[in-house]
Amino acid sequence: MANFWRNPLFGWGVERAEEQTPTNEYRPPQEPWDATTGAKVEMLPVGRLRRYYKWPGHGGWTWNRKRYWPTRRRVLNIRGEYNPKTLRREKTIADKRPIWWVLAFIFLAIAPWIMPLDYQSTLLTAGATFAIYASVNLVWMLIIGTAGIFSLATYAVVGAAAFGTAWLSINYGLPWYVLPFIGAAVGLVFGVIIAIPATRLDGFYYALLTLGLNELCRVYALTSKVFGSSTGGLYGASSYIPDSWDDLNQSRLAYFACVALMIAALILFRFVNGKRIGRILRMAPEKREAFAEATGVNFRQARILVFVVSSVALGFIGGFYTAHYRGVSFSIFSFDTVLLGVAMLVIGGIGRAEGAVAGAAIVIFLDKALISLGPIRLILIGLIMLGVVLFLNGGLFGIKPQFRAWREKKKSERRSTRAEKGGEMLPEEATETRDKDLIYWRRYDKMQRDYLKKLVSPALIAEHSRCPLGQHSEALERLLLYFRRAPLSDKYAIIAVEPFKAYRIVALSGQRGVAPRIVEEKTYASQEEAYHGVFMRRVQDLLES
């Protein structure tokens, strides 16, 4: 049997006020409150322990901050803040990399004295090789990481410079200290050659082109008598390592010279990647050039510059290579050298200096220090590379953010299995909410919706349709009051396409300066129809929530 609501304004003769309006049976609003006590959602204790040490604040003391002379960079990037849970003053080292680098340099500096004596010469040689490869990788990373261009011509440049300087040194007796600079000049020429196509070709085609260039160099050197096709390379160039020293000291000198080269490469990396040109290149990677160009960034110039700079640096390394090994062999052009280099970059993580260095360390350690393992070590390198490619997004140094993202994902998955749909906050979310008032609002809102959903009935919809504005039955009025009090973002409103003729429904942004968006194509011929259209959408949203 239908229930009726008697309109108190009927007696006043109010237009459209019916004496009695069919309406719902009364439902106590505290129904959902009672129901909620029976909820079975498991509440887990939360509160994550701090993973890192948080330094206390300076309080009233003056904090004298030091810088890297002569830059304005502070020694450590430290973030000062209030702990949101306790309001304690805390300092966090936002970027710990300088600490790790310092520790690494200290290790490299004392390594020759703490190596096991039996392996000393192997390890020193491996260390020197590591430092040279790391230097090459760092410069290569400027192209592959910073500029985002897949160039495989790196070893072609290094090799060409090495062969050129070796030939000059052997035939004209050039001393070792000019070799890196002549190498740099060779690199400059090469840089210009490979830079031009890089502004036009992309991706796969550029990789093919550079690989072809590498192969061209190899075949040319291999068949050229001048470059020692008979001896497998050019040997007998001048070297910075005095012959008069004993083997151990020679190895140590070579080791430190190579480490110094690597530090020089690191400095170069920092000055290209960390400065304006690096920013320009990183915002204009492949496929996004058009966007960069539209924002007024001259990425072509930056690309040519980075090619030239890195080729000069690679040429310099090539010259150093000659001076280090007293010559150079064809293997520098071989495909497996390129692959080994790619393996280093991928394992370490593209785009980071520490990736280029650590990748080199791992691969060289496997390749050179574990030489006793035989060919299996190459399979090992392959497996590591495969694992990195399969499971990691950003190499070894991408593990931390990747792990964090994975953990957050798992956490929210677990939470969603326990949360009731559209329900109140669980402890995990609540404790991270700054304004605790919102937690209660969510609870209250859920109660409201649970109750109001049961009020929606054809009688109420018909009542609203008859009279969208004015006095309504108690049940309809409750529903409307809830709708009207909703927060502003995505709240429905009406736009007058033509006053008194055409209206459409929009949703407000709730954000000053952002226009409302049109939510449906339908046009309503009168205000009242539009009011009812908004009501129907709100009812639908309520029932779907």
């Binding site: 109010v14 006020a17 003056t62 904090w63 209030y82 003053r89 006095q471 909703a486």
Partner: protein, 773 residues
């Protein structure tokens, strides 16, 4: 092609024929616009009324206008006049100030004090970073060096902040310490927060200066190729007593300044005593430098003066009582008071212009929507001749100018009981901060807007505009319904504005036998209220056409009548609440708020006052028994039946929107008669907040007898009289059914009687009158 948009404003709102008016127009997507002077007669397009009616008027300015894009400076700040560049300090320096940041995480850098060029990177500045940390920086053009505090500034807390820079050692130090007391800040002593931070670094170079960068507070100089020079990095919050020294002060010296010691002598370049120069009659825009060089600063976009300072301790509630505790100057980074655009066209009005509401109609593109602009102004007669004056409540137009309620106020839908109906023009206004806000809105930091100006485009002071949250016309376009009625009835009338009333007092009204108010004259200055009261007491006949009138106390500066100030506080139907201690108008030193709470309820002057508001339906009036008494039954001549106003353009009735009620306890003249009252209001009508001491269920239309509009009449001294319509919807009921309705009949009886000189019918109820009645 870009969308064509036209917006503009006139330099004056009230003008006489043959005078010159300057128009400021901004155009997007066009360089030409068609101008036409029009007289506005009816502004509501509601199908039940006569629709939009305008009359084109010949004018020298009609025709094509060259228009262009204009830029608007957002944000309030202080600019120091420093012709000798004494603040272009190239060596050591110290900056200090008390600061109360209301939005440290604005997402933008905010400058506090400094001589800094944002685009060229020259100078020095103390400011707040995007992360909310205090930072001091210097620049030499190609490079910038900076030092920032360890922890961010917390919002709504008073701090003492300083930066010192020793040019010989290059050592720069920033300091921040809390000066919060039990009253002046958001958080109390129980919050375990260490606010202090002192950080020092050695800079690599010394600052260099450009010759013409101004020293600014709460902003910094910027430049753009199409716009030229402007100010950016504007600040949200309060500043108090900043100072500049030309040497590096140690913390021992700064700590004394933090305790409130007045800086003197040694190395002091400037000390802006923000609490100096206050008068009993208000505060101007000049901030006085009491230091050696007198480098006074001038406010732009009306920084709010006389706000509680760092040392306010709750005992005093007004800057007049304790100026030194009221040194706070409040800034907002997106505040826009006056557009200050360049003049597009100076127009000399025709000499024979009839008094009325006029507009310069501009059209470009398709001439509809955003491509059409009406720049409204009001023309007074050269010499008053007509018996009737219609008083446009322009102060109330200012209060609602460019209101954002539909978009920004969560409470508006429950209040109005309907979804808003917006238009392209409303959306354009919402998208651009250049339109500024109304006194119904709050700045981004949540503080209410207390100033409003008509030197900016006002989209809702136009014909045809409907207030989006309520779906009806409101203020100016609604008032045109009364104008249309006067036109229709053929009355000889002239128009006045609140501005004239405020400046000229009772002299503005005195020439007229009958004055009609607008539909919602809510905002009144003391001068306006006094003038109206004196006019009625002096024998004037006043028709209060609206509802919720004479409500808020507002103020204007004599030299700048285009800016109005109001503070909303403690009681009344209000969009915001002034902070404790900030309840007085900086413009005049008066307490703001409701006239009722200042001892002058509207009932005392016009017999009725605000009782309730509701928005989705209107109701008719029903005659009350008193209306049959012979002293007043002439008002009802020609009214058939008991019901009055069963139709109308505002929700279909004459009693609605905001209702006014007779109340002897609030000073309604004891002999006033209730001629008719409305009833049957829905539960969307709720009692006004100032009537409620304790809320309890049942304070709504269908359950509280007080919720009604009263049509009231009483006679005043010297043959004066007052008639009240009783609600806002009253005026909008006039044009319904082709002006043939009994609201029109009643008002016609009133006006016909009011314009007759001599005694009003039934005025004294003397014997001979009884006989002829």
């Amino acid at each position: 092609m870009a969308q064509v948009k036209l917006f503009g404003y006139a330099s004056k709102i009230s003008i006489k024929p043959a005078e010159t008016l300057e128009f400021h127009v901004n155009a997007d997507g066009t360089t030409l616009a068609q101008a036409q002077l029009v007289r506005l007669i009816h502004g509501d397009q509601h199908p039940s009324g006569p629709g939009f009616v305008e009359e084109e008027i010949a004018c020298e300015a009609n025709g094509e206008w060259v228009v262009r894009k204009q830029y608007t400076q957002l944000g309030s700040f202080l600019q120091v006049a420093d012709p000798q560049a004494r603040l272009a300090l190239e060596g050591s320096l110290t900056l200090c100030a008390f600061v109360y940041s209301s939005l440290p995480l604005a997402g933008l850098r905010q400058a506090l004090v400094g001589r800094w060029h944002n685009q060229r990177n020259f100078g020095y500045c103390l400011g707040i970073t995007q992360q909310g940390h205090l930072e001091f920086w210097v620049g030499q053009g190609d490079q910038v060096d900076y030092v920032q505090t360890e922890v961010p500034l917390l919002p709504d807390m008073w701090y003492f902040v300083a930066a010192s820079f020793d040019a010989t050692t290059g050592r720069a130090t920033v300091h921040q310490e809390s000066v919060a007391n039990r009253y002046n800040s958001l958080l109390g002593r129980v919050s375990p927060i260490d606010y202090r931070s002192h950080v020092s670094e050695v800079f690599r170079f010394r600052q260099k200066h450009l010759p013409d960068t101004p020293f600014l507070m709460a902003g910094s100089r910027d430049w753009h190729e199409t716009r030229g020079e402007f100010v950016s990095q504007t600040f949200c919050g309060k500043l108090d007593r900043p100072a500049v020294f030309d040497r590096a002060l140690g913390w021992d010296e700064l700590a004394l300044l933090m305790k409130g010691e007045v800086p003197t002598g040694n190395g002091l370049v400037a000390y802006w005593d923000t609490s100096a120069g206050y008068t009993d009659q208000g505060i101007g825009d000049t901030v006085i430098d009491t230091g050696p060089h007198g480098l006074h600063a001038e406010g732009y976009n009306r920084p709010v003066r006389g706000q509680t300072g760092w040392n306010w301790n709750g005992r005093n509630d007004c800057f007049r009582l304790a100026p030194h505790e009221y040194g706070g100057i409040e800034f907002h980074y997106e505040v826009m008071i006056s557009s200050n655009w360049e003049v597009t066209r100076s127009v000399t009005l025709p000499a024979n212009l009839k008094s009325g509401a006029y507009a310069m109609r501009l059209r470009a593109g398709d001439g509809r929507g955003l491509g059409e602009e009406y720049i409204v102004f009001f023309v007074r007669p050269l010499k008053p001749k007509a018996p009737i004056a219609f008083l446009f409540p322009t102060a109330s137009y200012l209060a609602y100018a460019n209101e954002h309620l539909s978009f920004d106020a969560q409470i508006i839908q429950p209040m109005t009981g309907q979804p808003p109906i917006v238009t392209d023009i409303d959306i354009e206004m919402y998208k651009n901060k250049e339109f500024g806000l109304s006194t119904y809105d709050a700045w981004e930091d949540g503080n209410g807007v207390c100033y409003s100006s008509y030197h900016r485009p006002i989209v809702n002071m136009r014909p045809k505009h409907r207030i989006s949250s309520m779906g009806i016309t409101w203020q100016f376009p609604a008032d045109l319904s009364i104008v249309a009625w006067l036109e229709h009835k053929g009355y000889d009338y002239e128009v006045l504005t609140d501005e004239d009333l405020h400046r000229e007092g009772v002299a503005a009204l005195a020439p007229y036998r009958c004055v009609l108010s607008g539909t919602h004259p809510e905002y009144y200055s003391e001068q306006m209220l006094d003038a109206t009261e004196d006019y009625i007491a002096g024998g004037g006949r006043y028709v209060y056409m609206g509802g919720n009138g004479y409500y808020w106390n507002v103020a204007f500066r004599p030299a700048e009548p285009w800016i109005m100030e109001v503070r909303k506080l403690d009681s009344g139907m209000r969009a915001w609440n002034a902070r404790p201690g900030e309840h007085y108008l900086a413009t005049t030193g008066q307490k703001s708020g409701l006239w009722k709470n200042l001892g002058r309820p509207p009932q005392k002057m016009v017999g009725v006052g605000f009782i309730a508001e509701g928005f989705e339906t209107s109701r008719p009036y029903r005659r009350m028994p008193d209306s049959y008494h012979r002293t007043v039954d002439w008002i009802m001549k020609g009214v058939e039946g008991e019901m009055i106003g069963t139709s109308g353009l505002a929700y279909g009735g004459a009693a609605g929107i905001e209702l006014d009620r007779y109340d002897l306890s609030l000073g309604t003249p004891p002999h006033a008669r209730i001629l008719a009252s409305s009833g049957g209001h829905s539960d969307n009508y709720l009692l006004a907040i100032e009537e409620i001491l304790y809320p309890y269920p049942g304070l709504s239309g269908s359950q509280d007898y007080r919720i009604r509009g009263d049509m009231v009449y009483f006679s005043a001294p010297n043959n004066g009289a007052v008639f009240c319509g009783g609600s806002i919807a009253f005026g909008q009921a006039l044009p319904a059914d082709g002006f043939k309705n009994n609201v029109s009949t009643v008002l016609g009886n009133i006006v016909d009687a009011f314009i007759q000189p001599g005694r009003l019918p039934g005025a004294f109820w003397v014997n001979n009158e009884k006989q002829w009645r």
